[in-house]
Symmetry: C2
Subunit: 323 residues, 2 copies
């Protein structure tokens, strides 16, 4: 059985009790994020699931703690590794410290210095690779070092189930929700939420959203398989890879009902509105979800937009606020 | 019996059930604001009650809806009036619209044009007075017009009890809280929270906080009575009047255990930290509460800081973020 089949089959077998257990496991470390009303239009209620308020400013803390707490329940952990330069690695570092484990973080040499410094300050052992070597680690999970356990930042059942705890909370907070709009990075956030909602016996429409500068899920859906796309730089840096991961494709194909592509201008307007009207600082990916869900063209009655994170450079924020 | 005695006596008689009722009454209109963990220091846990996330960006919506829903339960309302140029008037306008009542808002000619426009756009009838005349309305509740009901923005039992709903939520969210830090504007926020906590039989320390540029409660406590203070302008515009209101003094004297005065520099640092670490946009008054509660000198174990609102001019926010 290939890794792809394994991931797909494991998470599709998850029962609602597994998502509830994840929620309970995370309770000491993760806040149930508030669901904030946004002034709607007639016939539509829009609420914002504010994961940007989590510790470290992103939903990734859920996956990081869930995967590590689950691993620690199965074996004693002393050395673990991951390949991520962002919020997931920081979340894993926080979890590793709590469990007394050492964490090696493999990063591409393209990773920003401030992210390297943050990880180093938290106590991670950093290993810097060329982008090609780093991508190979992501694909093969072979780091070349003698770590006990490699934790993939996206394609890992307990990562996806940890993300699903957002779906558990959402159903508790708003049983009438009928549509959820989720930004598509690796796809683990959307897959986790979709699986949690399905496992509860609810057929809630899952809408993925992408930024126009890099929309690999739209391309994969059009082609019927993952295909590389061009990727232009923008301030939206948390989503928009150049290709859907093979391991994630079967899940994203089956679990996501629609995809909306948002323009950079819409994402900028969303950052502005959320700061000025809701007093929330959000990063580009979260702005994309809000922009998609609040668009006049978007059809739904009770919509939740997942504000995935808040880690935006304050210079970018202020440039947007003053434009 | 003077008005002062009336207010004092009415609210001191409020039972815990009155605050619970206010919470229930407000539930359709007001979000239970999230209590957000802030990385603490050894021996101290700090959590933030994020009222800046409320509709209209401030706790004032609680008082506005509570006072109007209570009034509407006693008599039919068609014309009401208030004297406020800020968040309270906007909250009252929102409540008046829900109840189909007309609202007259008496403002001083010093009120900013954007606040006037916001009220006008919401459908308020604006009456502009010289500052002296406006202050007289606040003191006498005589507007000279034939409104059915004048609602004072601060010295009103149902305003204070509405604010107390924050205390009810706080006890539910964190029964172990032992200290609450509250910014002092008119004092109704601090009084409401203190009364709600006392009525639950809890002796929780209530710490008022003020900005160095205008600290009338500190001055009143030193003098044993309200005394005028000098008032220098700063970006902290939601608190810091030039004198404690006579009607509020007996409550503030009896209910507030300590007062902390925060510097403008500390308040600016607090705005920066909350935006960058917690992804929350806060106004000056809320920043003052965070600055007081997070100061190394502040002694407490389980501290909640009330982030009263988020209505900061984005130019001020960005000037602070980039400094």
């Amino acid at each position: 059985m290939s890794t792809t089949q394994r991931l797909h089959e494991i998470v599709l077998q998850a029962r609602h009790a597994d998502f509830i257990s994840a929620s309970e496991r995370l309770a000491p470390y993760v806040m149930p994020s508030p669901l904030i009303a946004f002034p709607g239009r007639p016939g539509r209620t829009l609420r914002l699931k504010a994961e940007n308020l989590q510790p470290l400013g992103s939903f990734k803390i859920r996956a990081a703690f869930n995967v590590l707490l689950q691993a620690a329940s199965r074996r004693s952990l002393s050395r673990i590794a991951t390949a991520s330069a962002g919020n997931f690695a920081q979340g894993l570092m926080l979890a590793a410290r709590q469990l007394g484990a050492q964490l090696s973080v493999h990063i591409p040499d393209t990773a920003a210095e401030n992210k390297r410094a943050a990880l180093r300050n938290m106590g991670a052992n950093l290993f810097v690779h060329s982008f090609t070597d780093w991508w190979r680690i992501l694909m093969t999970r072979e780091t070349g070092a003698a770590e006990e356990l490699f934790i993939h930042p996206v394609c890992e059942p307990d990562v996806i189930i940890g993300n699903g705890s957002i779906g558990v909370e959402l159903l508790e907070q708003w049983p009438e929700v009928d549509t959820v709009v989720v930004p598509i990075g690796g796809g683990g956030l959307a897959a986790g939420i979709a699986l949690a909602l399905r496992s509860a016996g609810r057929r809630i429409r899952i809408v993925g959203c992408e930024i126009e500068t890099a929309a690999p899920l739209s391309a994969a859906r059009a082609a019927g398989r993952p295909v590389p796309v061009n990727r232009a730089p923008s301030f939206v840096d948390g989503i928009g890879s150049n290709c859907v991961l093979d391991e994630m494709w079967p899940l994203l194909r089956d679990l996501i009902d629609d995809v909306v592509v948002v323009s950079v201008e819409q994402a900028r307007a969303a950052v502005r509105t959320l700061a000025q009207t809701n007093h929330l600082v959000v990063e580009g990916a979260a702005a994309v979800a809000f922009a998609a869900a609040s668009s006049p063209d978007f059809e739904a009655r009770n919509v939740a937009a997942i504000l995935s994170g808040g880690n935006i450079d304050h210079r970018v924020l202020c440039e947007i606020l003053s434009s």
